[in-house]
Amino acid sequence: MLHHVWIIPALCALSFVLTLMFGKRTPGRGHWIGITFVTAAFVLSLVTAGQWIQRSGDHVETQAQALADVDPSCSTTSAELAKSGGTDEGHGEKAAAGAADDGHSTEAAASEGEGHGAGAEKAEKEEHFSRPIVDCVHWFTSGGIDVTVGTMVDGQSVLMLVVVTLISLLVHVFSTDYVGGDRRYTHYFAFLSLFTASMLFFVLSENTLQMIVGWELVGVCSFALIGHWWEEKPNSDAALKAFITNRVGDIGLLVGVITLFFVSGSRFNILDINTAANEGSISHGMLRIASICLIAAVMSKSGQFILHTWLPDAMAGPTPVSALIHAATMVVAGIYMVARLYPVFFEGLQIGGSSVNLLVVVGSVTALFGALLGFVQKDIKKTLAYSTVSQLGFMVAALGVGAWTAALFHLFTHAMFKACLFLGAGSLSHANHHSFNMVDDMGGMRKVMPRTFATYVIAALSLCGIFPLAGFWSKDEILAGTGGWNYANGAYTFSMIMLLAAAFCTAAYMTRTVWYAFLGEYRGHHHPHESGPRITIPLIVLSVMAVIAGFANIPEGFRMGLPASWALKFEHIVEPVGIFFPGKEQGFTHAEFNGKLALVATLVGVLGIVIPLAFYYGKLPFLVNLSSRVKFFGFLKRILENKYYLDWLYTDVIVGFVKLPLAKATYWFNQNAIDGVVNGAGKSAAATGRWVYKYIDQGVVDGTVNTIGTVAGSSGEELRRSQTGHVQQYAALFFAAAALLAGVIVVVVGG
């Protein structure tokens, strides 16, 4: 299965085609096709994951052996390693020596030599190499460059395979009830399948060109699904906004990939680019340019601050689509790309060094500012959308501080509880006549929707980082990654404080949604009821995952009596080790579990839950109407309600500035400054001009021009008559001319 993993996206793509072509005529109007194929894809993903886990347990001695399953036809790194390994491949030391002789003295070969020399000094873990499997076929040749298309299977892509297919399957099931009876039901399911297929295609990409294709496909699918109910103007506007905002970042992606192509010696292969970046054979400045361009792409796709504005608007789409976008497909694509090309960012932005890099700033700011925005939303889905923005900020910050595994781990756990929250919100609105307004139309849903309530609260607690749910482990790993208080250079302390503040806000706004939606008295005017099993079963599955997903990566120092082999399982399976990934030599380290930090983070989360609850139950009277009593808080609230005026900045200031004031200013400048000079020059010129006009212009020039004009006019008048409008006369002229031409050719050639 590891070599034939292309079947998984192909299954989903096939499902798209079949649903589109035959969906309407099958019973159930097409959802069975999608569900069947995505189930098959999910099962195959699990099989792949199982094989990969088994494979990651095997030990290999050398880098050449580790890359033995990389098709040499698509990766020059692998081809060179295979050549230098020679026939002795399999005998560890010789192969390593061969690799070193050939100038491939990367840290892998070096550490290998050391490992054999020093023997027991090296821990067993450090001799472990990841063994990615790359298969490819020839795609096209252009300008002497062979471009391939294929699959790259390693821990990271296997993780995404499972997450994407699982969430997609649950979303498919959920949707059968949620959009049941919709006017474009079949179309909807077709695009769900295509969305899944695109994301799978993206995560399995073996080269950067293929990544662009997947990236754009994901964008198109999100456009189609956000605008699913395009008859209403706001929905189609939201779809357009998502698409256009993403285009801004796509430019960055394109420029970044092209830069990488040229600086890495005309290579698209991810493994090759990573190896080149890691070995330091690409200049630092070029890597920095490439990584900054790529960050622009990440900012738009993964909703990072200032380009996040499309994400809340994307809530216009059907709720299951939001769940899919926010948990598995689309927004995590940016995170995935950074993780995939990590050496580029690691070297380009000096992540291991002491300076603060752009990723951390973007991530921390997004985490905090996104979380703050979650407070002022009336719409439960928009709160969740800002929550996603904030959590993606956590992941980007984690990648920025060098906590690669923490970021991917958080991606994994976040997918589970955020999908659960979104589907829960969908269940709520399903019961409330498709309203998402939790302030005016909900309340007291705890009694009528016990299953939705239970699953929503579990997922919310997980998001808040309450021990021992999934969110606790992953968030804590990110916080530990920032280095805590006493980190050697302390560069990321600001990031840790911002993330802690964001964690507090997260807990508080999630409590707010729970309060408005589930507690208190019902404020709507309908008769809500619990949703059917097709909605509640996915919720239950996801909430179970939201509880247990965190145990995949229990820190070594905090096992709570679980067997030692369980510890850091996720890190062992998912994290790449080898010449294509930063190692200890480049300063890539793992943060230790920090008990004090975990305690503080949990306290922050608990406080974030307790304070709003106390406030809502009237125990904190000094907070009531704070925003209307204290000017400062009123000011803050106004800023938040206007989403930091970013939409205003984009549409009114930037677009408006270009449209009106800039035009006005240019006009003013034109009138007063330029015209002043021109007038002065003009007056003196005018005197000269008059003379020239009288004699030269009127006499000589106009005379000539007039003559030409008259001739042209009269000849035109004559020629006009030939335009009779009779097509046959034209044909006669045409044939006559052709005959004449033929005669000339006969004479000239024949003569």
């Binding site: 335009q723 009779t724 409008g725 009779h726 097509v727 046959q728 044909a731 006669a732 044939f735």
Partner: protein, 98 residues
């Protein structure tokens, strides 16, 4: 076999076609005459193809395909003209007169 006979036949067909295109007032007949011209070309192509290799035949096939498309479009135009003006007399269609 001499090629002259084919060329002669093609020339005759071509001339008949040209004559039809130039003097017929009925749009459909003009289209038919165009077909004659195209087929005259086809005969040339096939005739030369028979002597110089297969590419002539291939071109003739292309011409036939294009001619079919052309007739489709032409007949559609004439049909619409007829619906609008109740006549397909080409002499009456002089709206582009200069």
């Amino acid at each position: 076999m001499l090629i002259n006979q084919f060329l002669l036949l093609a020339a005759v067909l071509f001339s008949i076609g040209v004559y039809g295109v130039l003097v017929r007032r009925n749009g459909v007949l003009v289209l038919m005459s165009i077909e004659l011209i195209l087929n005259a070309v086809n005969i040339n192509l096939v005739a030369f193809g028979a002597q110089h290799g297969v590419s002539g035949q291939v071109f003739a096939l292309f011409v036939i395909a294009v001619a079919a498309a052309e007739v489709g479009v032409g007949l559609a135009i004439i049909l619409l003209i007829y619906r609008n003006r109740h006549s397909i007399d080409l002499d009456e269609l002089d709206e582009l007169k200069g």
